[in-house]
Amino acid sequence: MKNRITTIAVVLFCVFFAGFAMAEDRKGPEIGKKAPDFTLPDAAGAEHTLSDFEGKYVVLEWLNHDCPFVVKHYATGNMQMLQEKYRDQGVVWLSIISSAPGKQGHLEPDEAKKVTREKQARPTAVLLDPEGTVGRAYDARVTPHMYIIDPDGMLRYMGAIDDRPTANHADVEGARNFVSEALDLLLEGRDVEVTSHQPYGCTVKY
């Protein structure tokens, strides 16, 4: 009898916490709270850990070079410009590819190196997340999906790159870019005005 009660208690406990964990998982990160830590390899095989960048602002950019919405920002040079501009100001820029093997946008390390060079991209590193673990931890849903983490590891912005949810290259100019707006404010020591905005793009190909 006692055994049975223990079993039921254990089962209930597990069900409760599994449900709790799943609910947390679906919710993803929150503005003003600690951003999930992670370690991912870059195209050269070197590992990068988020918490190692403490003391610096970090931008996470979800990337799929075959997605028309991403192409809009790379073909116009917009993404490269942002990467260069903010890295010059000490910001760490991590482009993360969460496409699963065989799915659109997936790149093996050698391909990732080649494509990064061809696109003249300037991130601190292109990180490979083929299992989608980090993408899911951040609830990254689309490419490009953007996040800004402050020097204390707190999430300060998440969502769209700008306010023009189109794949039209002409829409880059004149768009309100939430990432550069937030970074400019943060680097001046001010608070971010728009801390989140509905992201747009292709689905992340988990």
Partner: protein
Amino acid sequence: MCACPLKHAATNNAGTRRFPVWGMTKPVLMLFALFVLMAPPLQADDNRVAVSFIPGVPGMTEALEESGVFWLGVDMKIKEGWHIYWRNPGDSGLPTTIRWNPHPSLSPGEIHWPRPSRFDEDGITTYGYSDRVTLLVPVSLTQGGPPPDYDTCVDTAGETSGNTSGRPSVDASGEIFKDAPGDTSGNLPESGIDCGKENGSPFGGGFSEQPLSADLNWLVCKDICLPESATVSIAVGERGSFEGYSGSGADRISQSMNLVPDTVEEWQGHAVLADGRFEITLTPRAGNAVFPDEQDIYFYPDRQGLIEHTAPQEVSRYGDTLAIVIPASRYLRSAPGEIRGVLSAKESWIRDCNTPAIEMVMPVTERDGGN
């Protein structure tokens, strides 16, 4: 004042030169055929969506007879397994856009979207269409009209009033009058049109035979997304007739119109935003409102960033009240003043009508949930 009832002018002249191509000589006909064969394709063959325009009336003359506004169907046939997007695409995607080329006689309005379907994929939810959809665009006549025919210019005011064709009519703003034949909403004279331009009327100078054309852009997705585009046009013949008009096309437009949601008098609603959830309450406002089966009810918000599209919507009925609880989007920063969207069900929301989808505009109040 001399008023020409258009119907008379049309029937008097239509018979003799109805098929101008028959009068062509053989070499001209062959040349014509050659041009048709050599015409460049208007859209890429490898597109996953084939688009064509369906005129809702045989020509501009008929449009003028009704209310000066007619429906143009934008018929989109989508390759199996692929889908395109509604005005709110949901978690990703893009709605179809239409850029009209200026036309001397015709002025197209905004797209009227049939209710969408819901697609769940890769942990996200999008709203759109698969297989086939016919978007509707109200087109107003801005000027033109049959050349004045003074022989038949007799005042028969009253004989041709209203929409006698049974086809749905629209007014210039695109308001639909599905069940209101005869309602011309003061757009054009109800009982025929002015003769010629002598008194400043824009009508009567003859219709332009310039084709009505537009550049369309859309995003089509399966496991991947591709932006596609096409230039689509509808040829305008003599006396403003639309090439490709058919009864089945007009039926297609009527069918699609049943799926375009309208705001209705029969239902009212409001929403409370509390604890990160929208609690929508719907109540009937008139006796002919009916409750569709709760399990088929779904609320499609008209823009992104309001609700969590992926979340299940809890629908329940308490007596004369329908409640829908939907988690708010985590990208929602403050309560909106109102929430708009489409309430979709399998059955009609109004007795004796075919209205499975209605447009709702609901005020939102914020309630502090204490956390």
